[in-house]
Point group: C2
């Protein structure tokens, strides 16, 4: 099926993507929360349509370029989930004015709240704002019970040009554990942080419509969503070895792979060289914490998707990947020019390495090419 | 100067780029070798013109997309330096046919030599081929004195449809050392491997016009280029902390930086958050072997380019970078919305992370925007 395909190439299994999307939509429906898919993984209109079940609304993005592209494609209610800076406000307005779509922005600090109030005053554009809560990761966000939370929440709610919409948190520290019970505990802490913050705001008379939590591991293992209105997950659409290593998916759930060609045999060094390296696979090794042989990806047969022995891409240079082989039989099984498919270590980073499209496969046929974009 | 600039943004200092380019062109001229700049770092027509001193010829690329773009822009004599696979030959022909420019390809093995001979026979297209030699890195390439080298060289030279042009090697293992004398020793081994291979081929009656060596460290520290016809270097155009850490450049030679905005203060954790993370900076930590505090880049004042204390980006997520600060004075000196410029750990990877252009600065003014491209 891949004979005419140039490598390296990003391959997306449509059936697996669809199953992952359906499963997460079903779980959200069962939990009575809105799924707000994080499109930073896919950066693709076609994938976003699958992830939203065709709804084309209530999505998360990590860059304003994503917001711009998805809004232009007709998506509405787009949450830009990275803390915003003053030099991005004009673009938020421009995207919203040009497309008529809502962009929600996030902050965790007073200077930015003041900058937004001033921007809205100066331009007449109503920014829609969420406050970021720290649920234990220690990256960004206010503590859920801090007096500052209520103070900033009030200033946002009272600013005439702003629409204060609610709170958002992300339990990024769930990636530090792999035990489902431990992930569930972090999911509960994530939920509590967000709902505590919402309660604190409401107790102070501040409306808090949105209570947004989420990461793929915590969404999947959470015991409760009480008080939560929506969940943000991204990598679940594709999954990867980082998720597999943390017991968040099965290997059959991984929808994204990199097709590569064997370009060299180094019998002396005992390595097979492929044309997928640091750019095609990324240098992310998030999986390796819990899966020491993940390296830069597991090497699979391009058609059956069975892993080839215990082969991994162990060394990467910009455009070269190196696969150590202990048994010389692999030089026969993987001749020069033969193809392999690599299960990515971390799909978000692999896909963002410069690929402009996904080659979509259905069973044993290539059925589509879906655009993706990168950058800011 | 950067007040209206959205972040993250790739900034290129034109004067530094020009000085680096001039210096390497002068060194090549003095050594009587052709400089064949590796454009995998810049992926930019404008930078390539500077790097070739306006000659627009004799360049190196790491992808066929680079070959395609540079050929279309008028560059000739383009060496695709990654071992070629059968599924790329048609594109080489297409690029060459459409632009009339020469593309040189590389292999180190018999099956590919046979595939190329068959391709040329079937299509009538004359492929220009170099043989890759291993000068000690142990990645790809034939040993310089192996019987196989002469056998494959002869088959390439005798194939009616192929033009065998010479040998190529890359001392990638020069990055394992930082002492200039040790780099010079590796440069000498690189030179000897290439010239030994050329001698072996010529002794067997096989013409070997091109003897190509190169990496930025070995080119700079080599004691001799005797017998060498050309040198390939790429990162010297921009330089980075990985080169600085290996005594290959001074900090003033680094032409490439990432402009980022402060988006959060985490006083409890003692960190400043910026909007440049794993994608904007890359997860490459090549510098850290010899510079333990390089992390994901050094943090500088956006205008003076002086490093801010000992600040580095220590943690990255997809779009977040985290800068630990011991002294709370940094929260005052870097308020929300303020700008920093990050010296990249490894420029090739940082630039390739998805940026579509360079913002070019001359002194204290933005004077141009130069396109760059990514992908395959």
């Amino acid at each position: 099926m891949f004979r005419q395909v140039e490598t390296p190439r990003l391959i997306l299994d449509r059936a697996v993507l669809q199953r992952n999307a359906d499963r997460f939509l079903a779980r959200a429906a069962a939990a009575d929360v809105v799924l707000r898919p994080h499109l930073k993984t896919a950066k693709s209109i076609a994938v976003a349509k699958v992830a939203t079940g065709g709804r084309m609304s209530t999505v998360t993005v990590s860059t304003l370029k994503e917001a711009e592209r998805f809004a232009a494609a007709g998506f509405d209610d787009i949450l830009y989930a990275v803390g915003i800076s003053p030099n991005k406000l004009s673009r938020v307005q421009r995207i919203s004015d040009e497309t008529g779509k809502r962009i929600l922005v996030v902050t965790d600090n007073r200077p930015m709240a003041e900058a937004m109030a001033a921007f809205s005053r100066d331009t007449g554009f109503r920014l829609q704002v969420l406050l970021e809560i720290d649920s234990g990761e220690g990256r960004g966000g206010l503590p859920p019970r801090s007096p500052e939370l209520v103070e900033i929440g009030r200033s946002l709610a009272e600013a005439p040009g702003l629409d204060f919409r609610g709170v958002i948190t992300h339990a990024g520290h769930s990636y530090a554990v792999a035990d489902p019970a431990a992930i569930a505990d972090i999911a509960e802490a994530e939920r509590r942080s967000a709902t505590d913050a919402a309660v604190a705001l409401r107790d102070a008379g501040i409306a808090c419509e949105i209570v947004s939590v989420g990461s793929t591991p915590t969404f999947l293992h959470a015991r409760s969503f009480e008080g939560v209105t929506e969940a943000r997950c991204g990598v679940y659409a594709f999954f990867d070895l980082a998720q597999l290593s943390r017991n968040v998916c099965a290997v059959e759930d991984i929808a994204l792979t990199v097709l590569a060609s064997v370009i060299g045999h180094n019998r002396k060094a005992g390595t097979i060289l492929i044309d997928a390296g640091a750019l095609a696979l990324s240098k992310d090794v998030s999986a390796n914490t819990f899966m020491s042989d993940a390296h830069y990806g597991h090497v699979c047969d391009p058609l059956t998707m069975q892993r080839l022995g215990e082969l991994s891409v162990a060394v990467v240079h910009q455009e070269h990947g190196s696969i150590p082989v202990e048994d010389p039989i692999w030089f026969e099984r993987l001749p020069i020019g033969s193809l392999v498919r690599i299960l990515p270590n971390h799909a978000c980073m692999t896909a963002a390495a410069g690929y402009e499209s996904y080659l979509v496969v259905d069973g044993d046929r290539i059925t589509a090419e879906w655009d993706r974009f990168n950058g800011w």
